[in-house]
Every structure is written in C-alpha cells, then in structure tokens.
C-alpha cells in the first residue's frame, strides 16, 4: 500500500500546491477528480514517488520511501509506474518505445514483445505497432503507446494522469476495460477532470480542490456528487 501522510508540496517555496494531504492507495481503481490547477498532477507525482514532498511522508508497505537507500528505492520504484498527461516518447520506433520499460529491467526483447503484442491486440492498435517512427504520430496515438508501455509492465501501482484526454472516443472504452481487468491485481490511480467514463468501474474517488482533499469515498457516492 502507498500511504500519504500529512503531505505538503510546493514547487518554489512560496505557494503550496498540496496542503496536508492524507491518502492511501491499495488494490483497486481510484479516480482523482478536481478542477484544473487543483493539484491532481502533483498529487499523482508525489504518490508515484517522482516528487519528494516538502513536508510529510510517503510510506510504501509501511516504510518511508524517501529514507531508503538508492538500491532499495529503485527496487520499490520499479513497482510504481506513472504515465504523463502529455505523452512522452523516446526517439525511435513504436516498438522501441513499447519495449523501453522492459529494457530498463534487463528483460530480453522477445519476452517484452509477447506482453506488448497482447495489449496491442486488445486495444486494436496493430497498425500503430507497425509504424516505424513515433515522430509522425498524433498526440492520441502517442498517449496509447505510453499507456501500453506502462500496462505491459504489469506494475503493482499505476498512476495515470488524464489517460483518456487525447484518446479517440472509439478507443476509450477499450482502455477503460483494460484498466478494469488490471484493478484486481494492481492499485490504479487515475486523475481526470472528466470522471464519468471511469467512475462506473472505479472503487474509490477522491476530490481535490486548492491542494486539499475535500472528498474521499466510494465511487458510487462520487458518481452521485457528479451527476
């Protein structure tokens, strides 16, 4: 379980983007909602161990992550994946991108490809995988690649920042279905300003406003709030 204890965060010291946030993420799908600039992305980046909080602790399975030594940090880190809202790709082919996470873990390409191809099939994006270079792809296609790259690693904790923002409507349902399949074995935390497509399959919801958690509860309750 990843647990945030009394987290405060500021980028430059003067304005706190997160204020006294407590949260826990365990198996299941959690939707983080909130208006633009409310702190959703920062919350995800702090929870996914990318950013160190200004104040407070991030506990992973009861251990303070930031007090760990580098090799232990890396071991924990490899169970946590964060996918950016604006998709990030590396130079090279689509397959280079899809296999990048596996390469970091020293896995051979063959092993990596099997899982990647399974997801490619599932999300009906074979045509994309055949593309040689990522340079000419649309932002939505890049977002799908970033999603598959993360999902293929089957992380214990998966943090997705606005994963449906650029994805075409026809693919959204497939992405939601893949997340629904994965939520029994992983903790998936999704930030979105359009929670409706995800709340129907989510377990929990969290509403954040001006850096503070103002609601935390079952997804059904949140759905009632939204509708």
């Amino acid at each position: 379980m990843i647990e945030l204890r009394k987290i405060w965060f500021s980028y430059s010291g003067d304005r706190h983007v997160l204020r006294d946030v407590d949260a826990q993420f365990d198996r299941g799908l959690t939707v983080v909602m909130g208006p633009n600039g409310s702190g959703k992305t920062t919350l995800l980046k702090v929870s996914s161990l990318l950013y160190k909080a200004t104040k407070g602790k991030v506990m992973v399975d009861g251990v303070d992550y930031w007090s760990l030594k580098d090799p232990d940090k890396l071991r924990v880190r490899r169970e946590v994946i964060y996918v950016h809202e604006s998709p990030r790709v590396i130079r090279g082919s689509v397959l280079d991108n899809l296999a990048y996470g596996f390469k970091l873990r020293g896995l051979r390409e063959g092993e990596a490809l099997r899982e990647v191809l399974r997801l490619v099939e599932l999300l009906n994006m074979k045509h994309l995988a055949e593309e040689r270079a990522v340079g000419g792809l649309s932002i939505g296609e890049k977002q799908l690649i970033a999603l598959v790259r993360a999902l293929a690693l089957k992380p214990r904790y998966l943090f997705l920042d606005e994963p449906l923002a650029h994805v075409h409507l026809s693919k959204r349902r497939s992405v939601v279905r893949v997340l629904e399949d994965l939520k029994d074995s992983s903790a998936i935390v999704v930030s979105t300003h359009d929670p409706l497509p995800l709340l129907s399959v989510a377990d929990e919801a969290l509403l954040i406003d001006e850096g503070r958690v103002v609601f935390r509860g079952r997804a059904e309750e949140a759905l009632r709030l939204v509708l």
């Binding site: 980028y11 430059s12 010291g13 996914s48 990318l50 580098d70 890396l74 880190r77 490899r78 946590v80 994946i81 964060y82 996918v83 950016h84 990030r88 590396i90 130079r91 990048y100 996470g101 970091l104 873990r105 340079g135 790259r149 993360a150 690693l153």
Partner: protein, 215 residues
C-alpha cells in the same frame, strides 16, 4: 613563408584556438547547465536571467576584462599569459559561456522535464535516466557547441586585446583582417574574410544538417 602559407597558418591557428575555447567553455557550461536545469532553487530563474542578459556582452569588453586580469599588475598577471594563444582561448571561452549556458540550459531543462521523468517513471536507475537524457539531447548539444564555436571564431575584441595580433603566435583570422585593412591590403583582407565566412557557413550548415537529421 609564402602568402598562401601565411594564410593557411592563420586559418589553422584560428580553428585550433576557437575549438579549444569552445571545448573549455563546454567543460564548465554543460555541467553548470545540467545543474541549473535540475535545480529547484528560487535562485534558478534569476541566475538564468543573468546568463541570458550576458549573451550580448560586447567582445571588446570581455577582452578588456581578461586583459586587466592577465596584465602584469592584474590578479592573474603571475601566470604570464598575456599575448599568448592560451589567453585568447580563456577570453573566448569566457565570451561564449553565457551563450553556451543559455542555450544548453533550455535544452537540458526540457530534456530533464521530458526524458528524466519519463525514464524514472518507468523504473530507470539514475544512471539509466542520465543515459536516456544524454542519448536524446546529444545531437542538440552538438548544435549548441557549433553555434558557440561560430561566435568564438568570429569575434575580434578578445583576440586583439589579449592576443596582441603577433605574427606566427596569436594572429587569427579576425585580427589578420583588421591588420590588412589598416595596411590598405583589401584583397588580402577580403580573402581572409571569405575564409572566415566559409568557416562560419560550414559550421552553420553542419548544425542545420544535424537538426534535420534529428527531426
């Protein structure tokens, strides 16, 4: 030495001095840019602002400051470097440092934001994350190096003030052109000018080629 030999000597010296100055500036500017780009200090933006402002610092003023530093009564006078190629190298390196830092800071800030975070978010070790950043920005860093080199080889103020335009030792393309104009040898000055232009055009074309290959 024949006129042709003399010109080739000046061209070779210019290339050697300005390449050395570029490498020297790269040696401190690249680490400084990486440090600045990865810093979250509140002083980062003001420091970057100062370097941006210094890009337009006049070469002759840098030359004067380096001259004062290396003159016999200056703080570095004991090094006896005034009127040597080394003095020009240091002066040119100082001149191009703000340009180097300003351009490479933008590059590394973007790369760290994009690739460092991407690598770490997918479970990379620090070494693997640096590896990705370097791989992704290498070509663009090379373009910055070429731009800085073009600025160094084309400047006159530093080379003239701290080099002294001594034949066979510190005479470079720009100081040689100035001398030939003073002597009224406009044909020779133009030949040297064309060679300088050629060097700058080759550098500019190389950076364009690199950019095109990257995109």
């Amino acid at each position: 030495m024949t006129m042709c030999g003399e010109i080739l000597d000046v061209v070779a010296r210019s290339l050697l001095i300005s390449s050395s100055a570029t490498l020297l500036a790269a040696a401190w500017s690249i680490p400084a840019s990486v440090k600045l780009a990865s810093s979250r200090s509140r002083w980062r933006d003001p420091v970057v602002g100062v370097f941006n402002a210094l890009v337009g610092f006049p070469a002759v003023l840098v030359g004067l400051l380096v001259y004062l530093a290396f003159s016999r009564s200056g703080p570095l006078g004991w090094l006896n470097l005034l009127y040597t190629p080394q003095a020009i190298i240091i002066g040119q390196a100082a001149l191009i440092t703000p340009l180097f830092i300003s351009l490479s800071y933008e590059l590394f800030a973007r790369a760290i934001d994009n690739y460092w975070e991407l690598a770490v978010s997918l479970g990379a070790s620090k070494l693997q994350a640096y590896g990705l950043v370097v791989k992704e920005v290498l070509g663009e860093v090379l373009v910055v190096v070429l731009v800085a080199f073009a600025r160094a080889i084309g400047e006159l103020g530093v080379a003239l003030l701290v080099g002294g335009n001594i034949k066979g030792t510190t005479r470079v393309l720009t100081t040689a052109i100035a001398l030939e104009v003073e002597k009224g040898e406009f044909d020779k000055a133009l030949t040297l000018g064309l060679l300088l232009l050629l060097a700058i055009v080759v550098v500019a074309m190389s950076s364009r080629l690199i950019k095109r290959r990257l995109s």
